[in-house]
C-alpha cells in the first residue's frame, strides 16, 4: 500500500513511495484531499456556485450522495464510475479525472462507513505520548523518538550522522546566515567531547546578533517588508526601523505572542514603548499607490484585501483572500468573514497618505515617527549620562542622533464603516455593514459589547484557550521545521486548509506546537530543540536504500541539501572575499547594480545612487528592496518581490543565476578580495595557498583531484612571489562551485 502524493491536480506529480504503516483510512489524510481536489469547487462550502444542492464537505450534506457502508448504492460512486460524458464526475470540462486507485480508496472509505473528521488544522494540537525506548540511545531528544518510531514502523534506516565540517557549516548558515570561521569548524572536528562542544556552538550562535538577522530574512518575506510602495511610481517609503525591530525582537527572544501583539496592535497597548510603536509598521507594509487619479474608495478596498491575504497567510496558514469575492471554495471561510476580519483594521489611519502622498522620494506616508533603534537609544542614554560631557562625548551624541530615521506606524482613528462588497466590487454599496469579528466557524470574541480591536485580534491569534493559538503555534512550528530541515512536516507552509497537504507526522507537529506555546512562545528554545535533535545532524547524502524508499525525504530520515538563500549567497561570497560589512541594523544599503535598471520607474524618474562607502558591502538583508525592480542578483537567486506573503521561496537553478555568480561585479570583487587573501594569508607555496583557499571557502582542505583542477587555473611556471591577480581564477572557481553555495 502506498501513500499517494496529495498533489494529484498538479500536471507533474511527485510520486512518493513512503509505505503507510497501517492499512486503515484516515479521512483527513486520505479522503479529504480527494474530495477537495475533485469535488469541492462545486460541492463545497461556497453556496453561491453550489451544483445540485449537494455539498460533500460536511458529513450531513454528503448523505445525499453517499450511502455509508454501501458504495454500490451511493450516487457519488455511480457518477464517478459513469461512462456517460454528461453524467461523469468530475465533469469532463474541469479537466479533472480521478485515478483508479483514488476511486478504490473512496470506495473503501464508503464501504467502511464514510466517516468524516474535522479538518486537521482546525483541531487544536494535542500533546501525544512520546514513543518510548527505541533506537538504543540513538535519540538526542523527543523529536528523534517520534521519528525513530515512525522509521521503525516504515522499516527505514536513517542516514548516518553528518561529518563535523558539514554539520558546522550547516549550523552556521542555518542560525546566522554566515559561513563559519575555519577555527570554529576545526574546533568541532577535533573535539574530545563533540556533544558538549556542539551544544556550546548552538548556544553561541543563538546568542549571536546574526541569529536575529537570519530569522528576520524569513519574517520579512512573510510580512512582505520592502523599501518601496509597490504600485505605480514605486516610490520609497520610510520603514527600515521596522526591520531593526524584527532583528532585535528575535535577538532578545521576544515571546512570539508578544511579537504578534506588538505588530498588530502595539499602539493599543498601555503606554506603548517606541519599539511597540515601530512594530505597528506591520500594518503599513502593504502595497500602496500614489498614482494621480486613484479612487480612495477603490484603494481602501484593495488595501483591506491585501491585509487579509497577509494576516491570514502569516498567522493562520489560511487563504482568506479567496473569500474577497465569494465564500471560500475549500474552507469554511465566508465572504462575510473576510470583510468582518478586515474591519479590525478599519481604524488604521489610511486617509492621510491619500491627501499628502506624492511623488517625492521618499513619498509621504504619514503617520510616521522619527526614531532611533533600541541599541542607539540605550547608547544615547549612556552618553547623555556621562559626566563630564567632553567634546568627544558631544560628538558621539551628535553622531547617534544623526541616525534617527522616520518610520511608518499605526495610529488608530475612528473606524471607517466596513461593508461586505458583493463579488468584491467596490462600486457596489448594497452589502451588509459588518463589525470586526473572527471567522464564525473559529468562534467569536467576547468583548462585552464593545467594538473588537486589533489587540483583541492579536490576543485571539495567540490564545490557546478561547482563540486559535494552537493553530498559530502549529503554523509556526511547521515553518521553523522547514527552516532547519528543508521542508515542512506539512508541505503547504501557508495553506493549512482543505487544499493543503496534511502533515506527514501529525503527532510530532502537534507536540512541537504545544512545546512552542507551553514554553512561553520561546523561539530560541524551539530552535534549540530542533537543531540539537539527532535528526538535524544527519547527513544529507542518502544511502541508496533510503533514497529508493523515500526519494522525496518525507520521513526526514536524512537532512536536506539546497542552494543557500539569496542573501546568504551574497553574504558568503563577500565574507570569504574579506569584504562583508557586519554592521547590525540601520537604513537600507545600495550596493552595485546594473546601470539603468530603474529606467522604467517614473514619478519621479529614478537614478540608482549606489553607496560607494562601507555600505556597498552590507549584508543582503539590508539591500534596498525595490518591489518593482528587486536587485537582479537577489531576484536571480529567488528572493521574492515582497508584494505578497512568501512562506516558501522557490529554489531554482538557472543560467541567469550562473551568470550572476560568474560575472556580477560584486562577486568579481569578492573573488578579487579572496585572491588577495590567499596570497597574503595563505603561505608561500602554491600547495599552502590552495590549502588555505579551500579551508577558507569550504572549511576543509582540497583533495588531489581538486588540487589538480584548481592548480590548472594558475599560470604555468609560476610559484612563490605570484601576485593576487594570478589567483583570481582559483577564487572565482571556488566561489562558483556547488559546495560553496549549498547548504549541505
Amino acid at each position: 500500500m502506498f501513500l499517494r502524493c496529495i498533489l494529484s491536480g498538479l500536471p507533474l506529480i511527485l510520486a512518493t513511495s513512503v509505505a503507510r504503516a497501517a492499512d486503515e483510512i484516515d479521512f483527513n489524510r486520505d479522503i479529504r484531499p480527494l474530495l477537495s481536489q475533485n469535488c469541492f469547487a462545486c460541492h463545497g462550502p461556497d453556496d453561491h456556485d453550489r451544483k445540485g444542492k449537494l455539498r460533500l464537505d460536511t458529513e450531513a450534506g454528503s448523505r445525499k450522495a453517499i450511502e455509508p457502508g454501501d458504495p454500490a448504492a451511493s450516487e457519488a460512486m455511480a457518477r464517478i464510475l459513469s461512462d456517460d460524458p454528461d453524467e461523469v464526475m468530475p465533469p469532463r470540462k474541469t479537466g479533472k479525472k480521478m485515478k483508479p486507485e483514488e476511486v478504490e480508496l473512496l470506495r473503501r472509505w464508503i464501504a467502511g462507513g464514510a466517516e468524516y473528521a474535522e479538518p486537521w488544522a482546525y483541531v487544536a494540537p494535542q500533546k501525544h505520548a512520546v514513543p518510548t525506548a527505541v533506537g538504543d540511545g540513538w535519540a538526542e531528544n523527543w523529536i528523534d523518538a517520534f521519528l525513530l518510531d515512525r522509521w521503525a514502523r516504515e522499516g527505514v534506516d536513517p542516514a548516518p550522522d553528518a561529518d563535523p565540517v558539514t554539520l558546522a557549516r550547516r549550523l552556521h548558515f542555518d542560525l546566522t546566515g554566515l559561513p563559519p570561521a575555519p577555527e570554529a569548524v576545526e574546533r568541532l572536528a577535533a573535539s574530545d567531547d563533540p556533544a558538549a562542544d556542539y551544544r556550546r556552538l548552538v548556544d553561541g550562535l543563538l546568542a549571536s546578533d546574526h541569529f536575529g538577522e537570519r530569522m528576520a530574512v524569513y519574517w520579512l518575506d512573510l510580512v512582505r517588508f520592502a523599501d518601496t510602495v509597490g504600485y505605480h511610481g514605486d516610490q520609497d517609503h520610510n520603514i527600515s526601523p521596522y526591520r531593526d525591530y524584527v532583528i532585535d525582537a528575535f535577538n532578545r527572544n521576544l515571546p512570539f505572542d508578544q511579537f504578534t501583539r506588538e505588530q498588530l496592535a502595539g499602539d493599543l497597548l498601555e503606554d506603548p514603548t517606541v519599539d511597540q510603536q515601530v512594530a505597528t509598521g506591520y500594518n503599513r507594509l502593504l502595497q500602496t499607490s500614489h498614482e494621480g487619479g486613484v479612487q480612495p474608495k477603490e484603494y481602501l478596498a484593495i488595501y483591506a484585501a491585501d491585509r487579509m491575504r497577509n494576516l491570514s497567510g502569516v498567522w493562520m496558514g489560511g487563504t482568506l483572500g479567496c473569500a474577497q469575492c465569494h465564500d471560500h471554495k475549500y474552507d469554511p471561510y465566508t465572504s462575510r468573514d473576510f470583510y468582518a476580519m478586515s474591519a479590525f483594521f478599519a481604524d488604521v489611519d489610511e486617509a492621510q497618505h491619500f491627501k499628502v502622498g506624492n511623488n517625492a522620494l521618499p513619498t509621504k506616508r504619514p503617520p510616521e515617527i522619527k526614531v532611533l533603534s533600541r541599541r542607539d537609544r540605550e547608547l544615547l542614554a549612556k552618553l547623555e549620562a556621562t559626566e563630564p560631557r567632553s567634546a568627544e562625548v558631544e560628538k558621539q551624541i551628535a553622531a547617534v542622533r544623526a541616525r534617527e530615521r522616520l518610520t511608518m506606524v499605526t495610529v488608530s482613528i475612528d473606524p471607517r464603516e466596513t461593508q461586505v462588497l458583493p463579488r468584491g466590487n467596490w462600486l457596489d454599496d448594497s452589502g451588509e455593514v459588518v463589525a470586526p469579528a473572527v471567522p464564525a466557524f473559529l468562534g467569536a470574541l467576547d468583548t462585552g459589547g464593545e467594538r473588537a480591536t486589533r489587540l483583541d485580534l492579536a490576543d485571539w491569534l495567540t490564545d490557546t484557550g478561547g482563540g486559535v493559538g494552537g493553530l498559530t503555534a502549529r503554523v509556526f512550528a511547521n515553518r521553523f521545521w522547514y527552516l532547519f530541515f528543508g521542508e515542512g512536516i506539512s508541505a503547504s507552509l501557508a495553506d493549512f486548509g482543505g487544499q493543503g497537504v496534511p502533515p506527514v507526522h501529525p503527532e510530532l507537529l502537534d507536540n512541537l506546537a504545544v512545546e512552542f506555546y507551553e514554553g512561553g512562545w520561546d523561539v530560541k528554545r524551539l530552535v534549540r530543540l530542533l537543531v540539537t535533535s539527532r535528526a538535524y545532524r544527519l547527513s544529507s547524502v542518502p544511502p541508496p536504500e533510503l533514497l529508493r524508499r523515500d526519494p522525496a525525504n518525507k520521513l526526514f530520515a536524512r537532512q536536506s541539501r539546497y542552494r543557500l538563500a539569496a542573501e546568504m549567497v551574497r553574504d558568503n561570497a563577500l565574507a570569504v572575499g574579506g569584504l562583508l560589512n557586519l554592521e547590525l541594523g540601520g537604513a537600507s544599503a545600495k550596493p552595485y547594480q546594473p546601470e539603468g535598471y530603474y529606467r522604467h520607474l517614473n514619478f519621479p524618474p529614478r537614478k540608482y545612487q549606489q553607496h560607494d562607502d562601507a555600505r556597498q558591502y552590507r549584508r543582503g538583508l539590508y539591500v534596498h528592496w525595490q518591489r518593482q525592480f528587486l536587485h537582479p542578483m537577489l531576484k536571480a537567486m529567488d528572493a521574492p518581490s515582497r508584494e505578497e506573503c512568501t512562506a516558501r521561496r522557490p529554489r531554482s537553478n538557472t543560467p541567469v543565476a550562473s551568470m550572476v555568480l560568474l560575472n556580477d561585479p560584486s562577486f568579481v570583487a569578492a573573488a578579487r578580495g579572496f585572491a588577495a587573501r590567499i596570497v597574503e594569508e595563505g603561505g608561500a607555496t602554491r600547495r599552502e595557498r590552495l590549502d588555505f583557499a579551500c579551508r577558507a571557502a569550504l572549511s576543509r582542505p582540497p583533495d588531489d583531484e581538486e588540487r589538480r583542477i584548481l592548480g590548472g587555473l594558475l599560470p604555468a611556471g609560476g610559484g612563490a612571489g605570484e601576485g593576487g591577480e594570478a589567483w583570481v581564477p582559483v577564487a572565482r572557481a571556488l566561489m562558483n562551485c556547488s559546495e560553496f553555495n549549498t547548504r549541505n
Binding site: G9, L10, L12, I13, L14, A15, T16, G95, H232, G233, Q287, E291, G293, Q295, A305, T319, C322, Y330, L427, E487, A491, S492, L493, D495, G497, G498, Q499, V501, P551, A552, R561, G596, H600, N602, L630, P632, D638, S641, E644, T646, R648, R649, P650, S652, N653, T654, A657, S658, M659, L662, N663, V668, E706, I709, G712, L713, P729, R732, C737, S738
Partner: protein, 477 residues
C-alpha cells in the same frame, strides 16, 4: 508565490533539463522527478504532456503593448456623433455611477475626434490619419473595437492585461505560454521583454508585468536592455576572455562533477548544465542584438539605428528573436498616456511606432513567418470620449470599450469585430473581455484555456481566471 512543495523546484529542473540540450541520463531525470513523472516530460521542447491540445496555428506571439493606453477614438473607432456633440456636456446616461480616474468630480464634456478617419485597403477598414503605415496593413489586421477591461489605473490594468487578475503574484501570459508549450531555443530565453520610450510622460512599468508569478522562476520574462549589457551579467568580467571564461567554467564543472561523485545530487547535474547554457547565452545574446548582419534596406524599412533602444530597433529584434525560437516576445512602448496634448503626443507616439509596426508585419510576411506568428497590438485600456485638458485637449483612462488589433497566424485579416456605442463609451456589440483575448490567444497556440491550470493556494488557477471566457471564433481564419 506558491507555498506548494517541490513543484517549482521540480519544474525548474525538468524544463531546464529538457531544454538544455545537455544529455542527462533518464535515470538522473527520473530520480529528480520521482518515478511517476520520469516517463512523462514532453520530449519535444519540454512543454507539458498533452500540449498543445489542438492543432496550433501560432507558434509564437509578439505582443506590442502601447503602454499608457492609446485612444481608440484617435486610432480605430470613428464616431460621427462624437464630433456632433463636441464641447457639449457628456450625457449623464453614459457616466452616472461609472468609475473615473483623473476626471473624478469634474464637469464632463464631449471631446470630438482630434483627427480624421479614412477607409483603407480592399477591406475598407477605418484607420485614423495618425497611423498611415498601419493603414497599409488594413487587409492584414483584425481590428477589435469592443475590448473591455476591469482596471482603470495603469499599474493594475497592465497586471490585469498580462496576468488576467489585478492581484499580484500571478504569472504573465508569456510565462504561461512557455510553461505550457515549452521553448524552441536552447540558447535564448523563451520569454523576452523589450521596452522603449517616447511621448507623454512615460508611465512606470513594473517587472511584475513579466513575472513568472507562482510558476517556476525559469519562466519569467528576461528583459533585454538597450544600453549596457543586453542581459544582466551576460558580459565576462573585465579582462576575462572567452577562452578564459571557458577554462573557468570547465574548472567549476570539474569541481561539481567531482563533488557529485560523492553526494549523488541530481541538482548538481542541473547546475553543470546551467553553467553550460550560461556560457552559450554569453555568445548568443550579443549575437542576437548585433544588427550588423542586417542589410541596409531592412534597417531602413524599420527605421532602426542599431543600439538606439528605439521601438524600431525593438521591432527588428523581435523578428530576430522570433526567427531564433523565442516563444513570447513582449514589446512595451511607454508614452501613450494622453491626458492632455493628445494631438501632439499622438503624433510623437505614432511617429515612433507606426512605421516599425508596419515593417515588422511586412518583414514577417516576406519571410513566411506571419503564418505562424501571432501579433497583437494594443494598450492596457482606451481613453474617454470626454475631454481632459492637461496642456491642450486630451482624454482620461477608459475601460468600458477600446480597440486592439491582431494579425498573423490563424487570424482573419481585413475585418473589424465588435462595436462601441455612438460615443465610443461602452462596448455594446460582441464585447471582448481581456480574458476572451487570452482564451483566443491560447486557442491559436493550440491550448484549451480551460484545461490549462496550475494549482495555487488550493485553486486551479488559469490565465483566463474563474469567470467564463470565450474563444472569439469570428475572428479566426
Amino acid at each position: 508565490m506558491s507555498d506548494r512543495p517541490h513543484l517549482a523546484d521540480l519544474l525548474n529542473r525538468r524544463t531546464f533539463l529538457n531544454r538544455s540540450g545537455v544529455g542527462l541520463g533518464a535515470a538522473a531525470l527520473g530520480s529528480m522527478l520521482g518515478r511517476e513523472a520520469a516517463g512523462t516530460p514532453g520530449a519535444e521542447g519540454g512543454g507539458l504532456p498533452g500540449f498543445p491540445h489542438l492543432p496550433a496555428k501560432a507558434k509564437r506571439v509578439i505582443f506590442l503593448c502601447m503602454a499608457g493606453g492609446p485612444s481608440h477614438l484617435e486610432t480605430f473607432d470613428y464616431k460621427p456623433k462624437l464630433d456632433e456633440l463636441h464641447d457639449k456636456p457628456m450625457p449623464e446616461s453614459f457616466t452616472a455611477g461609472q468609475p473615473l480616474a483623473q476626471l473624478q468630480g469634474q464637469q464632463l464634456k464631449v471631446q470630438g475626434h482630434l483627427t480624421k478617419f479614412r477607409r483603407h485597403g480592399k477591406s475598407g477598414q477605418l484607420v485614423s490619419d495618425f497611423l498611415p503605415w498601419t493603414a497599409k496593413l488594413a487587409d492584414d489586421i483584425c481590428i477589435v473595437r469592443s475590448m473591455v477591461t476591469e482596471q482603470i489605473n495603469h499599474d493594475p490594468a497592465h497586471t490585469f492585461m498580462n496576468t488576467g487578475t489585478a492581484i499580484s503574484g500571478h504569472p504573465s501570459m508569456g510565462a504561461w505560454v512557455n510553461y505550457g508549450l515549452g521553448c524552441e531555443t536552447e540558447n535564448l530565453p523563451g520569454f523576452v521583454v523589450l521596452t522603449s520610450v517616447g511621448g507623454r510622460n512615460p508611465q512606470p512599468i513594473a517587472s511584475r508585468q513579466w513575472s513568472a508569478g507562482f510558476l517556476p522562476s525559469r519562466y519569467q520574462g528576461v528583459e533585454f536592455n538597450s544600453t549596457g549589457d543586453p542581459v544582466h551579467y551576460v558580459a565576462n568580467p573585465e579582462g576575462v576572455s572567452r577562452a578564459g571564461q571557458r577554462r573557468l567554467i570547465d574548472a567549476v564543472q570539474g569541481l561539481d562533477r567531482h563533488r557529485n561523485a560523492q553526494v549523488h545530487d541530481p541538482e548538481i547535474e542541473t547546475r553543470i548544465a546551467a553553467y553550460e547554457m550560461a556560457f552559450r547565452m554569453q555568445a548568443s545574446v550579443p549575437e542576437l542584438v548585433d544588427l550588423s548582419d542586417e542589410p541596409r534596406h531592412i534597417l531602413d524599412m524599420y527605421g532602426a539605428q542599431p543600439g538606439d533602444g528605439s521601438y524600431a530597433s525593438n521591432c527588428l529584434l523581435a523578428r530576430r528573436l522570433a526567427e531564433r525560437g523565442t516563444r513570447f516576445i513582449h514589446l512595451y512602448h511607454r508614452g501613450w498616456d494622453h491626458h492632455g496634448g493628445l494631438e501632439k503626443y499622438m503624433g510623437i507616439c505614432c511617429g515612433l511606432t507606426d512605421r516599425p509596426t508596419w515593417a515588422l508585419l511586412t518583414d514577417l510576411k516576406q519571410r513566411g513567418m506571419l503564418d505562424d506568428t501571432l501579433v497583437i497590438w494594443g494598450g492596457e485600456f482606451g481613453r474617454t470620449p470626454m475631454f481632459q485638458g492637461k496642456g491642450g485637449p486630451g482624454r482620461d483612462h477608459h475601460i468600458k470599450g477600446f480597440s486592439m488589433w491582431a494579425a498573423g497566424a490563424g487570424v482573419r485579416g481585413g475585418i473589424t469585430y465588435g462595436a462601441t456605442d455612438e460615443l465610443g463609451y461602452n462596448a455594446v456589440e460582441d464585447a471582448v473581455h481581456v480574458r476572451d483575448l487570452h482564451a483566443t490567444m491560447l486557442h491559436l497556440l493550440g491550448v484549451d484555456h480551460e484545461r490549462f491550470s496550475v494549482q495555487h493556494q488550493g485553486l486551479d488557477s488559469r490565465l483566463t481566471g474563474v469567470e467564463p471566457a470565450r474563444v472569439v471564433g469570428d475572428i479566426l481564419a
